[in-house]
Symmetry: C2
Subunit: 287 residues, 2 copies
Amino acid sequence: MTAVARLAVVGTGLIGGSFALAARRAGLVGEVVGFGRRREHLELARSRGVIDRIAVSLAEAADADVILLGAPVGVCAELARGLRPHAPAATVLTDVGSVKARLVADLEDAWGGGSHVVGAHPIAGSEQTSVAAAHGDLFVGRRCVLTPTRDTGAPALALVRALWEGVGAVVEEMDARYHDALLARVSHAPHLIAYALVDAVGGWTHGADALAHAGSGFADTTRIAGSAAELWRDIVLANAPAVRAALAEFRATLGAFDDALARGDAAALDDLMERARRTRGRVGGGS
Amino acid sequence: MTAVARLAVVGTGLIGGSFALAARRAGLVGEVVGFGRRREHLELARSRGVIDRIAVSLAEAADADVILLGAPVGVCAELARGLRPHAPAATVLTDVGSVKARLVADLEDAWGGGSHVVGAHPIAGSEQTSVAAAHGDLFVGRRCVLTPTRDTGAPALALVRALWEGVGAVVEEMDARYHDALLARVSHAPHLIAYALVDAVGGWTHGADALAHAGSGFADTTRIAGSAAELWRDIVLANAPAVRAALAEFRATLGAFDDALARGDAAALDDLMERARRTRGRVGGGS
């Protein structure tokens, strides 16, 4: 049965677009309306069947039962403030941001209270961000973390849970600050590390030649450094204390490797690397 | 025409095994003899058609026209010393090690002079190291760096070049120290960074939960931390000064990212990330 008569996807990129495709295919939504900054992306979304029609204004997009913010984290609160005056009182606002505590607080504030706001983070996607890469299977078997607050209404939470379960995600609820602490370690800090690694090599005297001799290992390690800067700038800024803590932990650990190397301590290097290799075996997510 | 009547592959793992498969398919070699530490790997190599027969001793393996050392960097010099008394004077010794300057010097020393020794590094492979993953297309279109010294004989160099070109690699010659400086930046230091990242997350209070919430980005970034510790321990130790220099460059760059984050400097983060993103676009090798 259709859970949502009209879904508005504000920011129809990879995540928002894939959600719309999957929700439509699962029969969870009636009409899907798209809104975004770039007309050509919206036209592409419509031609690919991701959305039914393009809203020409925030006011038009606001007229929906559920609004999913698929826009970059840094602009979501402003979008919510623009949508609020035009949205029905019962409209549920949700998002897909990679950072939650500050963003959800800002969204609740913008929405005039938290009862109809549900923070969500589907752990899926890639360095691709365009709706051109959207597909309806993106969330199948992937985790989606919901971060309800003490103000979140049970009906809104149940609805958003049903939508994500309906597109195949494994849904769990988590405190937003705890979510941000976890993701700082396995996503936000690693993005900075990948960017810094590429930038360090690129800035080296023979950087161009070194990059020309990079193999698949370097390509893998730095793939996320191909991610859009404006997205990740805002994510790390919105989670700065946790990200800086994660970076400090990483820098200390790397220092231990460097110290062992400086000492020529093969046994210590072996222990550190072997422990990491075993830990790596527990990583999920497309390994 | 057959360039090599008998090839011995000492260390028939992913690289040695793939080379044997490709060279045989290209008609470059007659008989292929395998030698290694683990009987079951050699049996697998024989059953897969990677080698024709298993040498039961170093002495038997040494009776070849070309000996390719596919063993871990840390044991190659010892193997060469063991092979030398049993090898014909004209036997060409080559290797596939990821680090070259110290290793090639050790191999020349073990071989009693450099005229028949050619250092080589095919930039291909993965965190897989078993002959089970070997395939004859591994080197097609990939770079293979040869690092001749002033002692390298022209016939030996030409032969090794012909073999690598024959299996589809793009061969270039390079000073061994320069090779090691390049690879420190795009391979050796990145391995330590990936190991350290995994180890830092694994050692964090909620590390297990964080790893359970890792997405494909973390999986990509840390894939090379699944590499065998004993291989990489020896590689970074054999190239310690360059690797430590590369780590210092990386740590300084990461510090600049962290400083911008500490200041909440969105413009600086944007500049750093965007510069890295553009540089990342120049990375080859399986991107």
